[in-house]
Amino acid sequence: MILIHCPYCEEDRPEVEFTYGGEAHIARPLDPGALDDRQWETYLYIRRNPRGAHAERWRHAHGCARFFNAVRDTVTDRFEVTYKTGEPRPAGDTK
């Protein structure tokens, strides 16, 4: 049971309060119709799936209900940092 820090509630809360939302910082194209098939496929399906630090979306579903972003190490499951939606991925991945 991981404790996750919600940047809106500013609390460490158990992971059962949260839902996972996939890779972060993939903005929906403003005009999807302008994308060719390959570009749309890339937006829709292609993900980095890194071994190590991964910026990803989480939602405090059973709390404040806000989406936020986190950098998690996919090997250790350690959350390096969590930050609010719209903020850039922090430089360096440490707290």
């Binding site: 049971m1 991981i2 404790l3 839902t19 939302g21 903005a27 929906r28 005009d31 999807p32 119709g33 994308l35 098939d37 749309w40 496929e41 829709l44 979306r57 939602r59 579903a61 209900a65 806000r66 989406f67 090997v75 250790t76 499951d77 350690r78 939606t85 719209g86």
Partner: protein, 954 residues
């Protein structure tokens, strides 16, 4: 008969004899005994049969590593626990235990023929042999394998015990109550803060329990623990899993060590412990040696022989031979001799052994054979002697004995360390992996950290022998019957990674998770591959450390507490009126309302007919509901749904179709515009939370510029669907403030007013094809309004109907149910819902995906209706559809049936299906092969009733 009780010694209470039974025979032990020690003391050597070959097996270890002596403990009906390790079963008066995996009896086992024909069952045998044909699996292989190969039987009756669950938080958690663990606990306690010490045994002490020299010191340490005000000690508590952020799962056994009559309260308690720091003091497990005949009952670990003699006062035999590759075997032999056990000889595979050990052994009168190895063990149900030879190849020497103790060195218990993903470091000196760098705030101490003087030894793969390894019965994994030759075979057949070797041979995959076999397996693979052990890898340890009961893991989450049951405000009324319920996501919904002795078919036909003839009342309160409010509400819905929303006038409703971004249908529902800036959305019953989450996602992360608020109102509204030609007549006397006339209040409109004096949002909508209303009232008033409508409807022959009738009526009209008629791969075009897609909208969720080339390819499944040739044939939902029932196997399948019912209105069965190019097949015959027959059906449009919609608009 070999083992016996020593005249003195041990930690047992000889003044308190306990009677118990094993396989129906009565025995006696003492308070403080384990089942294993009491049986060995009674002369029992045969504890079980092995998994594959059904070889007779005895005790190997005296702790959690025990692979063979698995027993079933019977505490009365429904309290039967299989697969318990005999050394870990505390003896109590009246204990009843049985051996396992033998038929008809432990001494005579039919399947031991597997052993005679063992050459037919090499590694990978199951993978290779039992493959084809499928029917043989079902009728022959599986039943036979289940009968012959298996662990204990699961209890068939319901578990009457209850299980507790709780949390604990502490600054320091220490796992393992040996000397190292107690010392670490006291050190931590000195800093203040809460310290918890847990240990799986009945009493603290660990390995020191087998070393009387340490008992005085142990008692002194225990007194200090008791005196420390900030230490909690829990024995009989197994830390089975170490999870992220120092979260440990542990099971505390509360009653199993007591006679059933003395047991009260919960049987076990699950602890979820969050610790600032975790100290692992799990100790080390002795390694068996791999040699020909090492599984004959009476061959066991030296540490087990020592534990039996010094903790329990039990001699393992009258003439004991120690087969050593490690100094600890000599120390154990000397300890046994000191306790009065006759040690006939120490055989050591090493050519050089410390002079102090050799001298001490000779002084104790023990024969010493250096540089020798056992090449055969004699006896079948019990050891009668061994043959050994210098370097395994010299002249054979025979030695009579009734017990053989193996001292193959020590494996630090790194299980929990590995659960927490701490790194491991290969130690040449230990011939084992030691804890390296932790990820959590964790450290290992004592033997489990390699920080304990266990003496010196050599690491051997298989003991040297003149016999080819392929001809030896040299076991590596006792529980899964893996021999050294199986690992050689795996390597020979191309396995290189230990993960592959493990799966091919099943080495380390039994319930003991390879506690005694992993390292020996690695050494043998290393030798066979000619590569260092470190390069072969190590399989991953996973929770649980030892098998756990489902009861403990479930705790209180059973019966009514297993999952919350959501009930609508009408639920009690439905109960009082005899409803039969079904579960829909977490909701309990009335499925039908049988009258008299009606079965479901009869009740549903009657309910359907009543709705089409006069009027029916249906509880639709479970529909998901979301209030969408804000100046940009219409813009938001316009982007979410496939169809246009901005032009929808207040007071009007619209069917909304929701796609995922990949273009596939995920939800639908009718929604109403209450005001310019306010919508009343509905979703499917099961989709409510998912849809709200999806909408929040877009609103928060993509379109945060939109000023819109979403509020779940699912449980705030009771929804009473009133459907049928008399629906308007029923509510007319109850409604005020709304003109119910067909022109003033047309289909797909919404009005606000009151009904039975209660404020309502009254929808004129229909999921049945009839004139209909959905009466939304505050949930607290739901039952009152329902009953008023029910009373008013009596004059019109009102009939309560459930979800089954709802399904049939909508199917007659071809209205889809998302998740039943769609499966996450269906587009609006596939489902014939082109009309619901806004062609002029520049964008909506999923629109771009609908233009991907594959979405327009021919051959996609399309939604159609099916009418069987025999109007009484009812197709099975999920049944596969084929174009040619005579096509050769494997027959190409073109689709499947999604919905199938008996229609009262049509007097026959109807079905909905998705089949390849379905719309082009309308009028054609397709086939549904079923057991024993092939059903012919005609493809139709998915519309069976009132296609022009005149009833709906009445």
């Amino acid at each position: 008969m070999s083992g016996y009780r020593l005249a003195a010694g041990g930690r047992i209470d000889r003044s308190r004899p306990l009677a118990f039974s094993f396989d129906g025979q009565g025995y006696q032990g003492f308070a403080g005994d384990s089942l294993a020690s009491a049986l060995v003391a009674s002369g029992v050597t045969l504890f079980g049969r092995s998994f594959k070959y059904h070889r007779p097996r005895g005790l190997v270890g005296m702790g959690p590593e025990e692979p063979n002596a698995l027993v079933t403990v019977d505490r009365g009906p429904a309290r039967i626990t299989p697969n318990l390790r005999a050394p870990q079963v505390a003896l109590h008066d009246g204990l009843q235990a049985k051996s396992q995996n033998r038929w008809p009896s432990l001494k005579f086992d039919v399947a031991a023929l597997n052993d005679v024909f063992g050459a037919l069952f090499p590694a990978g045998f199951y993978n290779k042999t039992f493959m084809w044909p499928r029917s043989a699996w079902e009728k022959l292989y599986e039943p036979v394998i289940r009968q012959l190969a298996g662990l204990g039987d699961s209890p068939v009756a319901r578990d009457p015990d209850h299980y507790d669950a709780t949390y604990a938080h502490c600054e320091v958690l220490v796992v393992g109550g040996g000397i190292a663990g107690i010392t670490a606990t006291l050190e931590a306690a000195a800093h203040g803060g809460r310290v918890i010490l847990i240990d799986e045994q009945d009493e603290l002490g660990g390995g020191a329990l087998a070393d009387p020299v340490q008992w005085a010191a142990l008692d002194a340490l225990k007194e200090k623990l008791a005196a420390a005000g900030n230490v909690t000690v829990m024995t009989r508590t197994t830390a089975f899993g170490y999870y992220h952020q120092n979260f440990i799962g542990a099971t505390q056994s509360l009653t199993d060590h007591l006679a059933p009559a003395d047991a009260s309260g919960p049987r076990e308690r699950l602890w979820r412990i969050r610790a600032g720091e975790v100290v692992l003091a799990q100790g080390a497990i002795e390694r068996p040696l791999v040699f020909n005949g090492n599984d004959v009952p009476g061959v066991m670990l030296a540490s087990a022989g020592r534990m039996l003699a010094l903790r329990y006062g039990v001699a393992v035999g009258h003439a004991v031979v120690v087969m050593a590759a490690h100094d600890s075997g000599w120390r154990d032999a000397l300890a046994l001799a000191g306790a009065g056990v006759h040690v006939a000889a120490i055989i050591d595979v090493r050519n050089v052994v410390g002079a102090d050990l050799a001298d001490a052994a000779r002084d104790a009168g023990i024969a010493v054979h250096i540089g020798c190895a056992i090449t055969a063990v004699h006896g079948r149900h019990a050891v009668t002697g061994v043959t050994f030879a210098a370097n395994g190849t010299g002249p054979a020497c025979k030695l009579a004995c009734d017990a053989v103790l193996m001292a193959g060195g020590w494996t630090p218990s790194v299980h929990l360390w590995s659960h927490a993903k701490g790194s491991l470091t290969w130690s040449e000196a230990w011939g084992a992996y030691l804890p390296g760098t932790p990820i959590e705030n964790c450290r290992a101490v004592g033997a489990g950290a390699g920080a304990w003087d266990m003496g010196h030894g050599v690491v051997t793969a298989v003991l040297p022998s003149h016999i080819d390894v392929r001809a030896q019965k040299a076991f590596v994994d006792f529980q899964n019957d893996v021999k050294a030759r199986d690992i050689h075979l795996a390597v020979q057949e191309g396995m290189r990674s230990i993960e592959h070797i493990k799966r091919y041979t099943t080495n380390g995959m039994a319930t003991d998770q390879g506690k005694t076999s992993n390292l020996n397996g690695l050494q043998i693979a290393s030798a066979a591959l000619g590569r260092p052990v470190e390069q072969i890898g190590l399989t991953t340890f996973r929770p649980p450390y030892t098998p756990q009961t489902f009861g403990a893991l479930m705790g209180h989450h059973k019966d009514a507490l297993f999952q919350p049951v959501r009930k609508s405000p009408i639920d009690e009324w439905a109960t009082e009126h005899g409803a039969v319920f079904e579960n829909v996501s977490n909701w309990r919904r009335a499925r039908y309302f049988p009258r008299g002795g009606e079965d479901m078919d009869a009740a549903v036909l009657r309910e359907c007919a009543a709705v089409r003839r006069s009027v029916g009342i249906f509880d639709a309160s479970t529909l998901g509901k979301i209030e969408v409010v804000g100046p940009d509400a219409a813009e938001f819905l316009n982007r979410m749904y496939t169809n246009p929303w901005k032009g929808l006038q207040p007071g009007r409703c619209r069917y909304g179709l929701l796609l995922r971004e990949d273009g596939f249908i995920t939800d639908d529902g009718v929604s109403a515009r209450m005001a310019d800036d306010r919508f009343h959305l509905t979703t499917t019953t099961g989709g409510a939370a998912r849809v709200l989450g999806m909408m929040e996602d877009y609103l928060q992360t993509e379109w945060s510029d939109l000023d819109v608020w979403l509020t779940s109102t699912t449980e705030q509204w009771a929804v009473i669907a009133l459907q049928g030609p008399r629906a308007r007549d029923v509510i007319a006397p109850l409604v005020s403030g709304i003109d119910l006339g067909a022109e003033a209040f047309p289909h797909m409109a919404v009005r606000e007013g009151t009904i039975a004096g209660v404020p309502t949002r009254l929808f004129r909508v229909s999921f049945t094809g009839e004139l209909g209303f959905e009466i939304n009232v505050p949930a607290s008033e739901g039952r009152k309004v329902w009953e008023e409508v029910w009373d008013a409807g009596q004059a019109h022959g009102i009939t309560a109907y459930g979800t089954e009738t709802m399904h049939v009526l909508r199917a007659e009209k071809g209205f889809i149910i998302v998740g039943q008629d769609t499966d996450g791969t269906m587009t609006p075009y596939d489902m014939g819902l082109d009309w619901a897609v806004g062609k002029k909208k520049p964008d909506f969720v999923g629109k771009r995906s609908l233009a991907r080339p594959d979405m327009g390819l021919p051959g996609r499944k399309q939604f159609i209706g099916l009418l069987t040739e025999d109007p009484q044939d009812l197709l099975e939902e999920g049944a596969q559809v084929v174009a040619d029932p005579d096509a050769p196997m494997p027959m190409p399948m073109i689709g499947h049936v999604t919905s199938s019912y008996r229609s009262a209105a049509l007097g026959r069965t109807i079905a909905l299906a998705v089949i390849a190019d379905g719309r082009a097949r309308i009028g054609q015959t397709i086939f549904v092969p079923m057991p024993g027959k092939v059903i012919r059906a005609t493809v139709t449009a998915p519309m069976f009733y009132d296609a022009e919609g005149s009833r709906l608009n009445a």
